[in-house]
Symmetry: C2
Subunit: 202 residues, 2 copies
DNA sequence: CTGACATTCTGCGTGCTACGCACTTTTGCG
DNA sequence: CGCAAAAGTGCGTAGCACGCAGAATGTCAG
């Protein structure tokens, strides 16, 4: 990767981080694009070369990760059962959340707190679903256009993951987030045979 | 319902319809709020008393329906298995789509065609999920805050329904939309035991 | 019917935003 | 070194969300 690309990425991250940081401090709509640009040491106009809105800047942390989920699934061994591969691929997404990724946690909390951000985040979720669906289809030898199955699976998996994250945030448990997400996905993939009974994960 | 409320509802629908109609004709961003207001015979300022954006106006058709999904579930007989009740409640949502609801179909097509609208629609989906989750929790005697199960179920169901709708739109099949949605939800609720095999619903 | 009250509609003003365009600065490479 | 490509910048414009205060309209008791 040349200097050029690295610098571009750095700017992008600086903007994103500035947006998150300021939004946490003052609340999203007490932050102007101008402020974000200033905090990132860049002109206001440049902000819009990277992001179309404050919301997008904040959610990019989530989005960037989601880009890879399809590839991760395809990288799993082909003989692994779909459910397991899916679980592993989704969880891999959130792996680093041990300590390093405080920023992601902050951003996510912020997102869940504001309707405007949730909308933006959901938009991103659609992209994830689509990539994942494509990967599932490829893995199963199906056609996304003709069969609903891949899309349904993708929707279920991402939805469950989202719920897991949210639950983890809300409950403030000390349990690793990956475990919670895994539990949510398993719950979803297991179907409803045991509906209404005990489902662990209090 | 007094004249007051009826008139208000009428205005809301007129605005929504005008927004959809104009967006279909010219494309969303060749429509100004001013135009929508004019088409609905109301001042531009009034538009913003009803909706915060064009997107919201267009998606309101979908949102308004979603408001009721929780109630519908709670209205199902208590001894019915959860999966069936859920299926029935979700499908009931889309029932009239026989002929009358051309408007809803138009709006939905529009929504799927534009990223901006999809974002808005997803925001609405969150609201649906939450209502549905609350209803599921109540039905199962669980606590939404503590147990992930209701939220997972709600997410899965709404996600599957969304996928069903989308599939129906894309494929242009003559099959009733309710059947497609039902199939998608069943697929999701059934779990993944048969993953990779034939799943009907081509 | 009438008058007082509540609610909705409206016009105006303001601050912010997204983005096209033309121009400068920086970077990469032969 | 020198030049093309790409990123950053400043300016201008059209549009949007929304607060506020007053006019218009519906509501209801007496």
């Amino acid at each position: 990767m040349g200097l050029r690309e690295r610098k571009k990425l750095a700017t992008r991250q600086a903007l994103s981080w500035a947006a998150i940081s300021l939004a946490v401090q003052r609340g999203l709509d007490n932050v102007r694009v101008e402020d974000i640009a200033a905090a990132a040491g860049v002109s206001p106009r440049t902000f819009n070369n990277y992001f179309a809105s404050k919301q997008e800047a904040i959610c990019s942390v989530t989005v960037d990760r989601a880009e890879l989920v399809g590839d991760t699934l395809l990288a799993r061994p082909a003989d692994e059962p779909l459910a397991e591969a899916l679980l592993a691929a989704m969880v891999a997404h959130y792996r680093p959340a041990g300590e390093l990724d405080r920023q992601w946690v902050t951003a996510t909390q912020l997102i869940y707190a504001s309707p405007a951000l949730r909308g933006e985040a959901m938009r991103a979720a659609v992209a994830t679903e689509e990539r994942l669906a494509a990967a599932v289809a490829r893995r199963c030898g199906l056609d996304v256009e003709r069969d609903m199955f891949p899309m349904v699976v993708a929707t279920v998996a991402t939805g469950a993951a989202r719920t897991g994250v949210r639950h983890w945030m809300r409950s403030g448990t000390t349990e690793p987030i990956t475990d919670v997400i895994a539990a949510a996905i398993r719950m979803a993939l297991a179907g409803m045979e045991n509906s209404g009974g005990d489902h662990g994960q209090r």
